[in-house]
């Protein structure tokens, strides 16, 4: 009995030490100094492609651009996309470009805390320093909104940020955005957008019980999106079967109109309105080329 108690105590101490170790485990990589001049127009374009504006703006509620998005209801709790305006208190006005680079590419806050993966930073891991400089320049043009977005409402144990470090160790991978030799420029550009910035898999790939994407089922669809939404499979065979072509898919990303004449609603409608409708015809064709794997 005494032995068992000692064992339990030892276990508790080890567990406690493990958690303390996690709490202090540094996950922030120094991004180095980024002194490149940013192009705000290119940055605004990348922000559209990346869904920053679609997610961090409460369009239905008439909210100001990037002042905080509509809440995402998930099994883990409610996530609220925060205020990303230049307000020093409630936005990111006091951040440095280094803070911004670490937040976007690594998913780590200026305080060294991991963000919840409801923020789609895993897709932005390959953004170049130039991409970051451009985005940063664009974010500097956003008028400050001196109102906080509400806090996340996440229940124990998911509200323990140290747990996210385990999640990162287990599931965080660099996105597959590197060009593939032998494929067309359009296909490779589409790959860069689809697998990276535009993060199609965030909704169209099913997730495991702790919210990590199932890499073996990439683009196979997800029945359990936040708020009870569902995203269909966008595997090439399934898309072709439902009447999609490179031309009409690129068109749908711009207009919302599907091959059957219906128009997207739900979160895909928001993706189009806040993001893909702003992309160039070449980029939309590239995305469709990659998703349909037709080049």
């Amino acid at each position: 009995m005494v032995f068992l108690l000692r064992l339990a105590a030892l276990g508790a101490v080890a567990g406690g030490a493990f958690v303390i170790g996690l709490v202090y485990w540094p996950i922030r990589d120094d991004p180095g100094t980024i002194e490149l001049a940013g192009d705000p127009n290119r940055g605004a374009y990348l922000a559209r492609a990346s869904g920053c504006i679609a997610c961090h703006t409460d369009m239905a509620g008439g909210g100001a651009p990037l002042a905080g998005g509509a809440p995402l209801e998930t099994p883990f709790g409610t996530f609220v996309p925060p205020n990303l305006t230049t307000d020093p208190e409630h936005g990111i006005g006091v951040w440095t470009i280094g803070d911004f680079a670490v937040a976007v590419r690594q998913g780590v806050s200026p305080e060294g805390e991991p963000y919840f993966p409801s923020f789609t930073y895993p897709f932005y891991g390959n953004f170049t320093d130039q991409d970051i400089a451009d985005l940063w320049a664009a974010f500097q043009t956003v008028p400050a909104v001196a109102e906080p977005a509400p806090d996340h409402d996440v229940a124990f144990p998911f509200n323990q940020r140290w747990g996210l470090k385990l999640w990162r160790a287990a599931f965080l991978e660099a996105p597959d955005t590197d060009p593939v030799a032998g494929r067309s420029d359009a296909w490779n550009r589409g790959r860069q957008l689809v697998e990276g910035a535009s993060h199609c898999a965030a909704c169209h790939t099913p997730r495991n019980p702790v919210g990590a994407r199932l890499s073996g089922a990439a683009f196979a669809g997800n029945e359990d999106l936040p708020g009870g939404d569902a995203a269909p499979s966008i595997l090439p065979g399934d898309l072709v079967e439902r009447g999609w072509t490179v031309t009409n898919l690129a068109f749908a990303l711009r207009t919302g109109v599907m091959p059957d004449g219906d128009a997207f609603g739900g979160s895909m409608g928001e993706v189009v309105q806040g993001g893909t409708a702003f992309l160039s015809p070449e980029d939309l064709t590239a995305m469709a080329t990659y998703v349909l794997d037709q080049d």
Binding site: P40, N41, G43, A44, Y45, A47, R48, I53, T57, M59, A60, G62, G63, A64, P65, L66, A138, F139, Q140, T141, V142, P143, E223, G228, D229, A230, T245, T247, N248, F251, R254, T255, G256, V257, P259, D260, G261, D262, A263, F264, G265, G266, S267, G269, E270, V272, Q273, G274, A277, F278, L279, S280, P281
Partner: protein, 193 residues
């Protein structure tokens, strides 16, 4: 009641049931507005390939289709959404009545855009610049950074008139009509799984 009458009666009831099931059990005003939506989808399905350049452009068909959409939009649409007609077979979200002005504004916008498309039908298709330019303000692409067009962010920009749209290439006008559909569906239509 003799047997024949019973059979006839049963058949009649079945027919009604079949008709109702065509729209997931909708009846009355809900059925009517679903039919209106389907009619507009049919037009969009027929015209979209012309706008994509994958079907021969037919100005008369564009004109007629646009007129048909305009007929189903605006007040013709909003009067089919009396309060208390969400739920059941309907995909209408309760937000329609909470944000009635926004809903009615989008229905009106669809009417104006469709009238614009009707008038632009003879312009043919001629390439579509990206949205920032398309909405008549180039904030996104033209040097003012991140604000995007007010139209996307909650309708602060004054609405374009049908006369203005009449000057545009038909595919651009068509895209505006499409985006009205998408904007309204995103906010006010429940998506089935």
């Amino acid at each position: 009641m003799n047997l024949t009458a019973r059979i006839t009666g049963a058949a009649g009831i079945s027919l009604i049931a079949v008709a109702a099931l065509a729209h997931g059990g909708a009846t009355g005003i809900v059925m009517e507005r679903m039919d209106g939506m389907s009619a507009m989808a049919k037009v969009m399905k027929a015209l979209a390939p012309m706008m994509q350049g994958t079907a021969a452009y037919d100005a008369a068909a564009v004109r007629a289709g646009a007129a048909q959409i305009a007929d189903h939009a605006g007040e013709a649409m909003t009067t089919k959404f009396p309060e208390g007609t969400s739920g059941g077979a309907s995909e209408a979200k309760p937000e329609i009545w909470q944000d009635w002005e926004d809903f009615a504004g989008l229905a009106r916008q669809l009417e104006v855009f469709a009238e614009g498309l009707e008038a632009a039908a003879d312009n043919g298709i001629g390439g579509m610049p990206a949205q920032g330019n398309m909405m008549g303000n180039s904030t996104m692409m033209g040097g003012q950074g991140m604000m995007g067009s007010g139209g996307m962010m909650g309708g602060q920009t004054p609405m374009m008139t049908a006369e203005h749209i009449a000057q545009m290439p038909a595919d651009m006008a068509f895209a505006m009509v499409s985006q009205s559909c998408t904007a309204c569906h995103s906010r006010f239509r429940a998506e089935d799984k």
